[in-house]
Amino acid sequence: MVYYLMVCRSLTYAQRTAAALERVGITARILRSPKVIDREGCSHCVKIPERSLTAALVVLNRAGLAPKRIFLQAEDRGLREVGL
């Protein structure tokens, strides 16, 4: 499966983000950001299925919850940043 990881500025922000997505039926899981994408050390991200990205961005934009950065996680678990 391919996923998107949305990096958030804090755990609480990630929780708000996940709650906003779950409310509209988008599966969202909070996890600690992989070290390779974590510029400042220790952050949290919200993991969503690939198919949900567009809907998720619409919901988050409406809620004023912009992710800091977004990464595509490929099936081989490799990560690639996606331009916002």
């Binding site: 929780q15 708000r16 220790c42």
Partner: protein, 374 residues
């Protein structure tokens, strides 16, 4: 024992508070510090508590809810964020040492908006006059911890907004029984304990942050931006260094849910009914001076009194021996006593919670009557 010292801390809690704390001790690790189930459960509990507080206080954003160890801790953060040495600060004459001592420690120039006890209009006018001098900040208690005086915080907040002076509200005695509206007030900070009217455990407090610069009182690990040596610039992490008090937060969540379920209006109505009953009872007793407002909206569930010819501590002690738990002395608020003219003698304070009953108030009055007729 009949416990009438809820202005210090509520002792009777909803049963869910102790249950939640006991559950938390072995099941909740450190929120944000790991991906394992115990850390995730802790994160979920902390977030649920922030959401419950945000819901109760009409805050849109739970990130503005900061966990502290007490209202004193919260007030210290708020005051040190806004006030520097030599800054002029306007406060009410009913403030607790949790406000006055940090201001004194900072070397601030403190101006007091003085007004008579229970005179809300005079209090408002005193703030209006004091604001003309353009203070760096206003600090105002919502309810006096000694006399239960409900200050017109909404109107004082409006004056502060007009003058663009940041406002810190001490909601220690009002959170859980009166509407606390940080966003409507436009307050820079609202501080409160978790262990009084929110029925959480001791060791918990909240600071509601309304934007603007928040200066950390403690610096250390936050589980975020760990590679940086400065504290994160985002809330709540900026103000929450160190491991969270998860049993306390779990207990506070249960307390917040109780308050939300009961409703602040219902709790206030009960406390005021008990207050009226106590006032009626004490009114008929010789040698008792009590401090009651003429208008009901000027007083919450706190009643101060003096026993003629008896030291207040002696009266408090005598009533404690008769099974009535009260607080005597200066209540860590010498300024409030100075404002009311009771600094020399102090008072005995009865304060009510949602768990007190009319039968308890009847017994309290009866024991005071026995004391004065001895």
């Amino acid at each position: 024992m009949i416990y009438l010292d809820s202005a210090a801390t509520t002792l009777q809690k909803p049963p869910a508070v102790a249950r939640s704390m006991a559950w938390a001790v072995n099941r909740l690790a450190s929120p944000g510090r790991g991906g394992h189930p115990a850390a995730r459960r802790a994160a979920e509990t902390a977030f649920a508590c922030r959401q419950a507080a945000a819901g109760l206080f009409n805050l849109e954003n739970p990130e503005e809810v900061v966990f502290t160890s007490s209202a004193t801790h919260s007030l210290n953060i708020a005051i040190r964020s806004l006030v520097g040495p030599g800054d002029r600060v306007l406060i009410s004459g009913w403030e607790h040492n949790a406000v006055t001592r940090p201001l004194h420690g900072l070397g601030a120039e403190v101006a007091v908006a003085r007004a008579s006890l229970f005179d809300r209009q005079a209090q408002l006018e005193a703030f209006a006059a004091g604001l003309a001098a353009r203070p760096a900040a206003v600090v105002c208690t919502h309810v006096s911890n000694v006399f239960g005086f409900v200050l017109p915080v909404g109107e004082i907040a409006a004056l502060c907004r007009q003058r663009e002076v940041p406002l810190i509200v001490d909601a220690s005695q009002s959170a859980g029984c009166l509407p606390v509206e940080p966003e409507q007030w436009g307050a820079a900070f609202v501080a409160m304990p978790g262990h009084k009217g929110l029925y959480g455990p001791q060791g918990t407090g909240l600071l509601l942050c309304g934007g603007g610069e928040a200066r950390p009182l403690l610096e250390g690990g936050t589980g975020s931006a760990s590679a940086l040596q400065s504290m994160p610039d985002f809330l709540p992490d900026r103000l929450e260094a160190g491991t969270h008090n998860m049993p306390g937060i779990a207990g506070l969540l249960a307390g917040l849910r109780y308050v939300a379920g009961r409703g602040e209006k219902a709790i206030l109505a009960r406390e005021r009914a008990l207050l009226r009953q106590a006032v009626r009872g004490l009114r008929g007793l010789p040698g008792i001076r009590f401090f009651a407002a003429g208008a009901e909206d000027a007083q919450a569930g706190v009643l101060a009194f003096q026993v003629e010819g008896m030291d207040c501590e002696e009266a408090g002690e005598a009533l404690a021996h008769r099974g009535i738990a009260l607080r005597a002395g200066l209540h860590c608020a010498p300024l409030a006593h100075e404002s009311a003219g009771t600094l020399e003698d102090g008072v005995v304070r009865a304060s009510f919670s949602d768990f007190n009953t009319p039968a308890e108030v009847e017994r309290f009055v009866w024991e005071v009557a026995r004391l004065v007729r001895r």
